[in-house]
Amino acid sequence: MNHPLLDVTGASKHFLGLKAVDEVSLVVTKGEIVSIIGPNGAGKTTFFNLLTGQLAPTAGEVRLRGAQINRLAPHERARLGMGRTFQISKPLIALNALENVMIGAFMRHRKLSVVRDKAMAVLERVGLLQHARRRAGDLTLSERRRLEVARALALEPEILLLDEVMAGLNQSEVGQAIDLLKGLHATGLTFLIIEHNLKVVRAFSERVVVLDRGRLIAEGSAEQILNSPEVVKAYLGDGHKIAELKGASA
């Protein structure tokens, strides 16, 4: 049960002189929820892209279920059980919500009726069933984010990588989204999420890692991390108190 699902060692990505991601190591075990936090430009999304294969690492190694996947293309990693969403959501806007999710469901199934039923079930799960026939381009921001999660879920992944799925949602939408993720976690899904909203981090994650200027500077439970002076410094600079950070997150 406790074997590492995702095992990253010394992952680095340099753009010319800039070390966007600098020797980051991280282990995610099955069933865990790990959050990545850090200020803007810390390299969170770049790190994600190294995991999903969108970018090739300058150095380091990514293993999924023990197998080295460094050289695999994004679609091959998806087939191995890696689902992801994008920071800027990428709905297939000319297609309707159902078709969007069917695109994901086609990865593991071939028959149209099976794919349709799987996709409808996923849409129901994320609360978009009544919007099945609406064009993805006509959905609200919050619906689009849920649609992206749905498309990734339709891949029947083992681990879901969510890049700021809560961004731009209002409070009640964030609450609904947390409930959705908790429900999915209860079914055994593993999560690695990038999140700016510290309230979400506190409510949802079991373990938090902090990236700053490409480096992993802290790792621990949500409480430990959000009370760590080092993290506060990375976020707000010197001289700020924890209370302010807590206030900012509320």
Partner: protein, 348 residues
């Protein structure tokens, strides 16, 4: 699994039954009815030689536009180089028939397979280009093909072209009667549309749409983007080559300016699809049904009045279509139906 349906009803949403995805049976019935309607003009005008020519050509161009639409419309890869595959079909079958007396019925599929293989080979590097850059690259292929056809005299006959002697007979794909050709072209259109109907319900069809919409999202959904493009292109090019073979056997004379004419071939496929409704099943066929007869009419009526006027009118029409029917005729009809439905619902 009934749970989904129940909950769907409970929230006043959709149940499985109205997911909008047609059953295979329904799609098949629609296809058969559509093809029957398509056959109607041929049945009504079977004695009119002038119209039969137009009808045959409309079927052929409709089928060719539908073949282009597979990669150009569904896959979103705006190729302007399909004249190359059309040319392979035309020259391949014509040369094999004239030089070796091989029946076009025998050679049409191997020639199409060759065109599909070549399409994959030349698309492999070009598919790295996106949008207009891809279109320009394919345009260049068409020009290269023209030069090759012009100079490779031993195969293509060079500028003098290939003349296919008139030896009527089913086995030669050469017919005495115009309606026989029209029926052949109808068969081609029905084949391409049939394949499109199946494709639209298959994994490859959905994957082509995903690739068109967003390549990064497609990759994240487990889609091998390049592989999907190559397969779509191969299918599209193979069907285009079949159309080229039929064209050669109908005209019985081919030369480079006829085959690699951008206006009449390479760009025409895209244009007919755009007018009818790009990325839809019926669109390319509708585009051909509107434009090909109209073009003939204009040419016949205006040729003696002011030279080039027919082209000007056609151009104007296309500009208007681009301005007011962005999703083509099919899109305009869909919008109209949606508006009427809404009105009917509002009236209740």
């Amino acid at each position: 699994m009934n749970k989904t349906d129940n909950t769907g009803d409970a929230v006043g949403g959709l149940s499985r039954a109205d997911s909008g995805i047609e059953s295979g049976q329904r799609a098949f019935v629609k296809y058969v009815l559509g093809m029957a309607a398509l056959l109607l003009p041929l049945a009504l005008l079977v004695d009119d030689a002038h119209w039969l020519n137009i009808i045959a050509f409309t079927y052929l161009m409709g089928g060719l536009a539908a073949a282009w639409n597979i990669i150009g419309g569904f896959g979103g890869q705006f190729s302007l180089g399909h004249g190359v595959f059309f040319g392979i079909g035309a020259y391949g079958a014509a040369r094999l028939y004239v030089a070796y007396d091989l029946s076009p019925w025998l050679t049409v599929l191997p020639v199409a397979a060759f065109a599909a293989a070549l399409a994959m080979l030349i698309s492999w590097p070009t598919f790295r280009l996106r949008g207009p850059f891809f279109a320009i690259a394919t345009l260049a292929f068409n020009e290269v093909a023209f030069v090759i056809a012009h100079n490779l005299t031993s195969v293509t006959g060079g500028p003098r072209g290939i003349m296919i002697p008139f030896k009527a007979g089913l086995e030669n794909m050469i017919f005495r009667e115009r309606w026989q050709y029209a029926l052949l072209m109808f068969g081609f259109a029905a084949l391409v549309i049939g394949i499109t109907v199946i494709l639209r319900r298959s994994r490859l069809g959905y994957y082509l749409l995903a690739v068109r919409e967003d390549e990064d999202a497609a990759r994240a959904s487990g889609i091998d983007v390049l592989g999907v493009k190559l397969r779509g292109m191969a299918l599209s090019a193979g069907l285009t080559a079949i159309g080229g073979t039929l064209f050669a056997m109908y005209l019985r004379f081919i030369d480079p300016p006829t085959i690699f004419n951008l206006q009449e071939v390479g760009v025409k496929f895209a244009l007919l699809s755009l007018i009818g409704g790009i990325g839809t099943i019926a669109g390319p066929l509708l585009g051909a049904a509107l434009i090909i007869p109209f073009e003939n009419f204009l040419r016949a009526e205006l040729a003696n009045a002011i030279p080039g006027l027919s082209l000007a009118i056609l151009g104007l029409l296309m500009v208007l279509a681009a301005l007011f029917m962005k999703r083509g005729v099919v899109g305009a009809i869909e919008d109209l139906v949606a508006r009427l439905r809404r009105k009917a619902r509002g009236g209740k």
